[in-house]
């Protein structure tokens, strides 16, 4: 950066406003959510009743497993349930 103008620093600080907190938190919790989902889906592979519950009422089944059923988590699980 080659500038003598201190106001330019203010402009550059303003160029990166904060991201909504919920978005950041959801991304930060990705590892824990992934582990929870992997575990749940592995159990569903071996447990037909659990798999049926997941398909019939995904949101409640995720909540019962301690996983917050956000829009992105739901989409991810639906994709994984569809894949062979």
């Amino acid at each position: 950066m080659a500038t003598n103008d201190i106001e330019e620093l203010g402009r550059l600080i303003a160029a990166l406003p904060p991201t909504p907190e919920g978005w950041v938190r959801a991304a930060q919790e990705l590892p824990q959510v992934r582990r929870g989902l992997d575990d749940l889906l592995a159990r569903a592979e071996a447990d037909a009743a659990l798999r049926a519950r997941l398909i019939a009422d995904l949101e409640s089944t995720l909540s019962d497993a301690g996983i917050e059923p956000t829009r992105h988590v739901l989409a991810d699980v639906r994709d994984r349930l569809r894949s062979p």
Binding site: G10, I13, P18, A27, R34
Partner: protein
Amino acid sequence: MGPEISDAALVARCRNGDDSAWGELVERFSRYVFAICSQGFRLSRHDAEDVFQDVFTRAYENLSKLRNDDAVRPWLAQLTRRLCIDHLREAAREAPVEDLEPDGMDEVIELLDEAMSVREGLAKIGEPCGDMLDRFYARDQSYRTIGDELDLPAGTIASRISRCLEKLKGAMEDSGTLVRPDVG
């Protein structure tokens, strides 16, 4: 906002399964990714959130494929650009658009890279200066709000901000990020 470890060290810790490092990586680059989506591609809030989560999901899944840990920022920029374009392409099935990436995207990324360097400077100067400058410029808080939240007289905030900017400028000149003006 404190002294930061290098991007490469942070990536290495993430790759070793350190959840707190992952949280720090998201914190460090969240504004950058958000700005590319919202300022660069002018995505709606809803679309920007989709791309934002997608970027960090892909990053989490593919971090082991990153060849140069120091290059995590350009890697994230490229990933964000690609996913923004994919998102627009998906939307364009219904309403075709001629050019999916807005003009001047390289310049936007360049500006955001400079802004990230300034954020590194903010971390270096520590508190309360880093927080105060972030509140005033990035969070658009008034002197009164800053004064209330930091328990400082509102009448002193303007002069404090001015001193903090000088401190930031000095820190960035010392680190070579900002070119010191010629004197004489």
